[in-house]
């Protein structure tokens, strides 16, 4: 049986004494999209930051294609093949668009030609191509989000983590971002998609995990959520619940 692309096994994370993740377990199959839902403070970003090595789990393990990565630093985890589109985008504001991409690109082991290069990323996001020498801090929110996605892709990750890529963007821009996600999925990339609004992920995700106060409360395939008519929204924010009703 092939190993999962990414697997959390009983992961506990603390901020000092504050217990943020309680034995979190879930897995992302290769080529699948996992929607990670939960209201403000549920622990979604903590999961992402632990995966990329910014936080260390106190217990439990995180494995990438069967290989444990939970004791590695962020640089090493990036080289193992995890890309992060962080919450709030966090593009390097004082670097140009081109520099933001160049600092994140690197040679792959072996002789294989990388799928994502400066050129192919700029092909994917023509808006960025028009702005390669602009400072990232001067871009619009939507452009910064494209840049954050491009910066994650250019390292040619095997698993892509996206932390609330729709946050603070106009609906039209969000639609564009999700079109990109759909395209990446169709190319076989394994993706974790963090959102607060279930409506955004339900169409694109194969699996749904819902966090509440640092614990997994729902972990189902999207299909069984539909079939069993599971109410995801009761674990989500007020806004999302209203959305679900309306």
């Amino acid at each position: 049986m092939p190993a999962d692309a990414l697997r959390f096994s009983g992961v506990d994370v603390y901020y000092g004494e504050s217990h943020a993740l309680h034995g979190v377990s879930f897995s992302v199959g290769e080529g699948r999209v996992l929607g990670l839902l939960g209201r403000n403070g549920a622990g979604k970003t903590t999961c992402m930051n632990t995966t990329v090595g910014l936080l260390q789990p106190r217990r439990g393990d995180i494995a990438l294609f069967g290989e444990s990565i939970s004791r590695l630093g962020p640089e090493a985890i990036s080289r193992k093949g995890i890309g992060l589109v962080p919450q709030g985008r966090r593009v390097f504001k004082r670097l140009t668009v081109r520099e933001n991409l160049v600092v994140a690109s690197r040679r792959l082991p072996g002789r294989q030609a990388p799928k994502w290069t400066l050129d192919t990323v700029l092909d994917e996001f023509p808006r960025l191509r028009e702005r390669t020498s602009h400072y990232a801090g001067n871009l619009s929110g939507g452009e910064q989000q494209m840049l954050a996605i491009g910066r994650a892709l250019i390292s040619n990750p095997r698993v892509l983590l996206m932390d609330e890529p729709s946050e603070g963007l106009a609906p039209q821009i969000v639609a564009g971002v999700f079109a990109t996600i759909a395209k990446l999925k169709s190319q076989g990339l394994s993706i974790v998609l963090v959102e607060q609004n279930p409506k955004l992920v339900i169409d694109i995700a194969d699996d749904i995990v819902v966090l509440n106060s640092g614990s997994v409360v729902i972990a189902e395939t999207t299909r069984s959520i539909h079939e069993k008519n599971i109410d995801v929204s009761r674990y989500l924010g007020v806004v999302s619940a209203e959305d679900a009703v309306s």
């Binding site: 910014l54 630093g73 992060l84 600092v103 994140a104 390292s155």
Partner: protein, 283 residues
């Protein structure tokens, strides 16, 4: 007198830039004021003059001094600062302690007498232009400072390494997440900062001479330059250096009793209205 004062101010400005550019880079990336920076300056002067006494040409001694200081900088960063794992308070205290150790060792090795550094051959005299006598060596110092400023600017703004350093200054955790080895960059900026400071120390030799206490005279000047010009800004360090060069020299002559007021007052005023410094950016 005004003329000589101006020349001295510009020269000091050039030296201060060499000192504070590295200080500013280290502060921007590692978020600690390197209190050993004045010691690097003094140590460079002593090392350089020792090499010259062994018979080396001034310029070869200067380059060797920079290389030795770079090695010392890497060693300090790797062996002493890194094990503290990013604990800023401990790191700052360590750089302070190290500055005392370097001061004592220098006193042991080079004694308490000021060491005069011979002016490099060919630059002893003056050049006259418009009936003014320009001391050649000081002009050379300013010229070298400007060349190094341009080189540093190109390195920081136009190379991939420079972009990585700026990324680390901007958001170090995110830089690590995209695969940049930020801890390797710490070594790079520490080596570069130590090399520039040591080089500046030797450059200062023929003009200030090298003596115990030079370290603790230079460190506050570097601090003011960086606070005034703004951290994370090479241009700020450059402009700040020349402002302080002028304030220091003119202040000492015009208001000898208030020399430090003259130095610190403009800094306070600027900080009140622009807390990020003249050229700094709020992050």
């Amino acid at each position: 007198m005004w003329f000589i004062l101006t020349i001295n101010s510009v020269t000091l400005g050039g030296l201060l830039f060499l000192l504070s550019a590295g200080f500013s880079l280290i502060f921007g990336l590692m978020r600690i004021p390197n209190l050993t920076h004045g010691s690097f300056f003094m140590l460079g002067g002593y090392l350089g003059v020792t090499l010259i006494r062994f018979g080396l040409n001034f310029w070869i001694a200067a380059i060797l001094t920079a290389l030795i200081m770079a090695a010392i900088g890497v060693t300090v960063e790797r062996l002493l600062l890194r094990p503290l794992g990013g604990n800023a308070m401990q790191q700052v205290l360590l750089t302070l302690g190290l500055s005392f150790i370097i001061a004592d060792l220098s006193l042991m090795i080079w004694t308490g007498d000021p060491v005069r550094v011979p002016t490099p051959p060919g630059l002893e005299g003056t050049a006259s232009l418009f009936a003014l006598q320009f001391p050649l060596y000081r002009l050379a110092v300013v010229g070298i400072a400007v060349i190094i400023a341009v080189g540093l600017w190109l390195m920081i703004e136009r190379t991939r390494l420079g972009a990585m350093i700026r990324a680390g200054v901007d958001d170090a955790p995110m830089a690590r997440v995209v695969g940049i080895r930020v801890s390797a960059l710490f070594s790079v900026v520490f080596a570069l900062g130590a090399a520039l400071a040591g080089f500046a120390g030797l450059m200062a030799g023929p003009y200030l001479s090298i003596y115990p206490g030079l370290d603790s005279e230079m460190l506050p000047l570097a601090l003011i330059v960086v606070i005034l010009g703004g951290t994370n800004s090479l241009l700020g360090a450059l402009v700040g250096s020349f402002i302080i060069g002028f304030l220091f020299n003119f202040g000492q002559v015009l208001f000898p009793n208030l020399a430090y007021v003259i130095l610190f007052l403009p800094m306070l005023v600027i900080l009140m209205f622009r807390p990020q410094g003249l050229f700094g950016r709020l992050t």
